[in-house]
Subunit: 214 residues, 2 copies
């Protein structure tokens, strides 16, 4: 199993957490998103994944794209350490929390969008950073409201075992810290992040622990 990854990519970070939680071994193939305009745009990686986005997972004779699709696949073929609850309503809640991050927040703040804002639209560094902080902050606000208002929230996003939602939350909080977002308005999120930080599977997936970390 080969994971095309970049140490600081949120989406790759999610999949690394899921692989580690399930105890599935993999070979990391680093794709440098910044070097020479981005290795993800080169012919070699484009042949792996035409979206030119990280991550991709080579397994069982296929190449899988999209972090949440990859994690759902891992959930189906490696059901040990389930990352979704047993009940359909619980699964819907976990998937919605994950998508609040993966669909509503992260796509607006990823590298290709930030490059487009500066390169094509000519935004200043300040305006680009304001954009990043606006959408990341909006995503955190919604996530905090969803988590704080529900009795289903426990030590983790859903009860007392990590789920796909936690695989998404932790990389999002990592990004928020990196750009200096004040986390005080998000006590539920930070408590869950702290609970995850105590688990070896999350620790080993951290950007600083990757072979391509800088």
């Amino acid at each position: 199993m080969k994971l095309y990854t970049y140490f600081r990519s949120s989406a790759a970070y999610r999949v690394r957490i899921a692989l580690n939680l399930k105890g599935v071994a993999y070979d990391a193939v680093p794709v440098h998103l910044l070097k020479d305009g981005g290795e993800q745009h080169g012919a070699a990686y484009r042949a792996v994944n035409p979206s030119e986005l990280i991550p991709a997972l080579e397994t069982d004779g296929a190449t899988l794209a999209q972090s949440l699709a990859i994690i759902e696949y891992l959930e189906e073929v490696h059901p040990v350490m389930p990352l979704l609850p047993q009940d359909a309503l619980g699964r819907a809640r976990v998937r919605a929390l994950a998508q609040t991050i993966a669909s509503d927040t992260h796509p607006l703040t990823n590298l290709r969008v930030l490059r487009h804002l500066k390169g094509t639209l000519g935004l200043s560094e300040d305006d680009k950073n304001a954009w990043y902080r606006h959408w990341l902050g909006e995503g955190m606000r919604v996530l905090e409201a969803q988590l704080a208002s529900s009795p289903a929230t426990g030590r983790f996003c859903h009860g007392d075992m990590p789920t796909i939602a936690d695989c998404c939350l932790v990389p999002q909080v990592f990004n928020a810290r990196r750009v200096g977002i004040d986390l005080a308005p998000f006590p539920t999120i930070t408590a869950i992040d702290a609970a995850c930080a105590g688990i070896p599977a999350f620790q080993a997936a951290h950007p600083s622990q990757q072979p391509d970390a800088e």
Copy 2:
């Protein structure tokens, strides 16, 4: 079952298709995204869905958010007319196609982002439209590459039965047509869109057929 919807919302359109394909009856509760700055931002809808995004589905005593999480829920509780293939690799492929649209494309071109580009960043109408066309076009390019390169693509995105991927593709093509994107470079997408257009479940979900259509 109550679906909070807006006739032209891509994400609501996806869920309407899924409900219709499965033959699940629902009451449509229109939320006008443009009137008075957007009913989705009012206290009433915010109590339903703190993300202030459409759609939400009230069912089985819960309120579900996020179009793909809602469709996965429908798939689990109404397995008739399955919207995912039987095999795990096939399901991963369908989910990845759906997320190419729902995570990589649509979040960049939805109403709140277009408003932010004009209102907060002060972009001209032309620059805003160029943004829309850029990201929609990029999403279509990737989707076409994924579909055209795979023997798994059939009359629909995956084989000869509609799946979650088709629930996402059709609203995306509707948007592309609305802004006048040239569809000639996307023959696989347009052939699938045409196949879907022949199916009553897709027809009934079309924006023009909704109670709040203008």
